[in-house]
Amino acid sequence: MSTSDPPHDDDPDGDDRLDALLRAAMGGPPGPTDDAAEAEPDDDDIDDGLIRAWRAGALSDDAGAALEGQLAASPEARALAAASIEPVPEPLLTWAEQQAPRAAAPRRGWRPLLALAAVALLAVGGGLLLLRSGVEHAYVTSPLTGGAATVRSEAAVGGVPVFRPGGVLEVTLRPPQAGEAPPVAAFVAPEGGPLRAVAAAVERVEGGAVIVRAPAGRLFGSEYGPWRFYVALGDPGRAAGRIFDEAREAGDAQWFEYPLAFEPTPDAGGDP
């Protein structure tokens, strides 16, 4: 048995029969909710923010255990936790950004944006965000990866790659035609927070492409949770300390944005 195999008892058939017995003991999955019996939700409903923090490993042991107990007791809460992993279509987010609180004009759904989004995604060759062209030629980016021989982005949570302290962020930016690469700057920001300038290794490839690498542990320290990694080609101006949207308006750079989750390295083995 390799170290990644699950521990099991001597008799795998016995495990299967025990599992069948356990499923019978637990009563099976809940059927569709009886709408007639559904009570109006009250303030005790599970906190969505706690689920997010729990999955990111940001809760204390006690708070995490309390939430796990709540999830164990409630099929609906488990369904919510499972749904929280599903990625959100980018066009839906773009549409929501356009719905200002006071807007009175007729509102259309986001689906007409799909065609435009598909073109944009093709243009960036991997589903990442090309934000503004402040340089002469627009670059395109590879997806954010963890590097070939290092800890790669190990899973997708909410549609973003997950990095652990040993991982290395890596992106390759290519120009549409050969030329000299512009200056490169890298930043990180917590969700909704100000940009921090970070040191990243920049490898310039013949033809104007650049490869940007940065160790996740050095970028984020022990601050686990959702982050964004940014690469600016050109002059980003005084971007550090600003909210991203302000920074991109102020400078003269082509910006690339990469959402990610930074999580602690799990203990080998597991709990029991």
Binding site: P6, P7, D9, D11, D15, R17, L18, D19, A20, L21, L22, A24, A25, M26, P29, P30, G31, P32, D35, A36, E38, E40, D45, I46, D47, D48, G49, R52, G57, A65, A66, E68, G69, A73, R78, A79, L80, A82, A83, S84, I85, E86, L92, L93, A96, Q99, A100, P101, A103, R107, G109, R111, G158, E191, I243, D245, P266, G270, D271, P272
Partner: protein
């Protein structure tokens, strides 16, 4: 949040990326337990409608958020969303009843037909199965109880359970091993031959 509602584009962008996933997850979880649709609306339709509800009256609902009441902003929006879904579902059911449609979903009938107990558990008796469930819940930590519920009640695979919990599969396998061990011990003490 107030900057976003007052028209700051960057702040709105961040608010959307923080809250729309919460709304969509709420809608998805709600619909998944009700056959995937509510009337003619699917997940993204309802997500849009609830976002527009939050934007109504100058974002009145969002501006009413009070962190002092103990919930995170995401938790508050999740609760608003859940109440809106409950309200819409109730209205939809009332409309269906008015139209004389059958309330019993086809999926429920299919599930009932396919969920017969297996022969081994029938032989063991419901009382013993119930007391086994109690025993496991009493003797497992919260995380173990979550694995018990996710794997054996919801019938999620170990991979799905690990993703749900944000842990490696090995953690789930280890808890399953612990659950089986406790089960064998309990059945042995009860004088039941263990598989």
């Amino acid at each position: 949040m107030r900057r976003a509602l007052d028209g700051h584009r960057g702040a709105m962008r961040m608010l959307v990326r923080r809250l729309v996933p919460v709304i969509r997850a709420r809608v998805s979880a709600y619909l998944n337990r009700r056959g995937g649709r509510l009337g003619h609306h699917d997940i993204d339709d309802l997500t849009q409608e609830i976002w527009l509800t939050l934007m109504e009256r100058d974002g009145h609902l969002l501006r009413s958020y009070d962190a002092e009441r103990g919930k995170s902003l995401e938790g508050y929006v999740g609760l608003c969303c859940r109440r809106e879904l409950w309200r819409r579902n109730r209205a939809h059911n009332a409309e269906r009843r008015g139209g004389g449609q059958d309330d019993a979903p086809l999926e429920a009938a299919a599930r009932t037909a396919g969920d017969g107990p297996d022969p081994e558990s029938l032989a063991m008796g419901r009382d013993l199965l119930d007391s086994l469930q109690d025993h496991l819940k009493r003797n497992l930590a919260e995380r173990g109880r979550l694995v018990l519920a996710a794997v054996y009640e919801d019938h999620r695979s170990p991979a799905e359970t690990a993703e749900l919990m944000g842990v490696r599969q090995q953690v789930v396998y280890n808890w399953m091993h612990k659950i089986r061990t406790l089960t064998r011990e309990y059945l042995g003490q009860a004088g039941v031959a263990t598989p």
